[in-house]
């Protein structure tokens, strides 16, 4: 059995760990609210843009002159996975789950004989993906030097991607990012980013009489402007989801850690009291035995 002093030291160290996890939990809870608000504020823009995109794409999509971003390069060989991870740890299994999803997608694609490359956003995905795919990593994008990634970062990533696409470095890009469901659940998802997936169905439903809509300059020119913007918006959305997911996951993980530390402290305290009692009893027995011997 550990000595009293050792036990005391352990209790103290667990207690200070608990303080840290508790603080991190509260910080995450406060940040979560803000991140959620930001994610909600971004929704109207994305929805409008999607509606416009859908109605335009359904008109222009069939023609030969459709822009490359919509129609694709005509080949389907080289895939790029844009993996959005967090920059900081202490958020439970979030990053592990994102990486797992990304590697699963990569393996699926490789199984079909495609080439796969990675474009990594955020620090925490680097090490685990690099382990098996060191030569397949096209680029890291660092978001750790800004406090909360905003539209500027999304723009930078998008222009990077579009440049690579123009240069013919890949044919299809997928975006892997966590979708924030609640503080307990974040779903890593894979979504096609480039070529822009033609959304079918609701285009006609959202706008009844759009046969009358006038376009200036022209439908195709507008589409050409909107496609890169769509990519940017998707990336921005992914960054916001990541932010909310990170804080949510962190809050849950730290809550668990705090509770665990509490349990540990309770057990250690019981053990400490027991051994203290044992020591006192032994001492008493010794004294009584000594007194009787006289």
């Amino acid at each position: 059995m550990a000595s009293l002093k050792e036990l005391k030291g352990r209790i103290k160290s667990v207690r200070s760990t608990q303080k840290i996890t508790k603080a991190k939990q509260m910080v995450a809870a406060a940040k979560l609210r803000r991140a959620q608000e930001a994610a909600e504020a971004a929704r109207p823009y994305a929805e409008r843009l999607n509606a416009v995109m859908a109605s335009l794409a359904s008109k222009v999509g069939g023609s030969d002159s459709a822009p490359k971003l919509l129609a694709g390069t005509g080949s389907n060989q080289r895939h790029l996975l844009v993996v959005v991870n967090t920059d900081k740890g202490l958020c439970g299994g979030l990053n592990a789950n994102i990486v797992k999803e990304a590697l699963k997608t990569a393996n699926d694609l490789r199984g079909k004989g495609k080439d796969v490359q990675f474009y990594l956003v955020g620090k925490k995905g680097r090490a685990p993906i690099k382990r098996n795919n060191a030569e397949a990593i096209a680029k890291h994008f660092d978001t750790s030097d800004v406090r909360t990634p905003g539209f500027e970062e999304a723009e930078a990533i998008a222009s990077d991607l579009l440049e690579m696409f123009e240069a013919g470095k890949f044919d299809v890009a997928h975006l892997v990012y966590p979708i924030f469901k609640s503080a307990l659940a974040q779903d890593p998802t894979t979504q096609q980013l480039i070529p822009v997936p033609a959304s079918e169905g609701d285009a006609a439903a959202t706008k009844g009489g759009d046969a009358l809509v006038e376009y200036e300059p022209g439908e195709e020119e507008i589409l050409e402007v909107l496609l890169p913007r769509y990519v940017r918006t998707q990336l921005f959305g992914a960054l916001l989801e990541r932010e909310a997911s990170e804080q949510g996951a962190s809050m849950t993980a730290m809550d668990n850690a705090t509770r665990n530390a509490g349990d540990l402290i309770k057990d250690l305290n019981i053990e400490y009291n027991r051994s203290r009692q044992a020591a006192i009893t032994t001492e008493l027995i010794e004294i009584i035995a000594g007194a009787e011997a006289l």
Partner: protein
């Protein structure tokens, strides 16, 4: 009597108002939108959007960059990537 005007950026919903007229710097020239405008879509040059609260009032200008305007049954919607002021 009023035109419903919305200005949205990726980061937030900047404006949702009933106004008299909005003058938009379209890619092929400025155009003013009043209530009951025909359905219309246009890209926007970087520049100032002028919002007239009432007829004859001095316009309020909002600088937008990377914009796109859509006029539909429910008014004018401007999607802009950046808004200043």
């Amino acid at each position: 009597m009023a035109l419903h005007f919305e200005l949205v950026t990726p980061a937030r919903h900047v404006r949702s108002d009933d106004v008299h007229m909005v003058v938009v710097p379209g890619a092929e020239g400025e155009f003013g939108v009043l209530e009951g405008h025909a359905p219309f879509m246009s890209t926007i040059k970087d520049g100032a959007v002028q919002v007239y609260k009432t007829a004859g009032a001095t316009p309020e200008t909002i600088e937008v960059r990377g914009g796109f305007a859509e006029v539909g049954e429910n008014g004018l919607t401007i999607l802009a990537e950046h808004v200043e002021g």
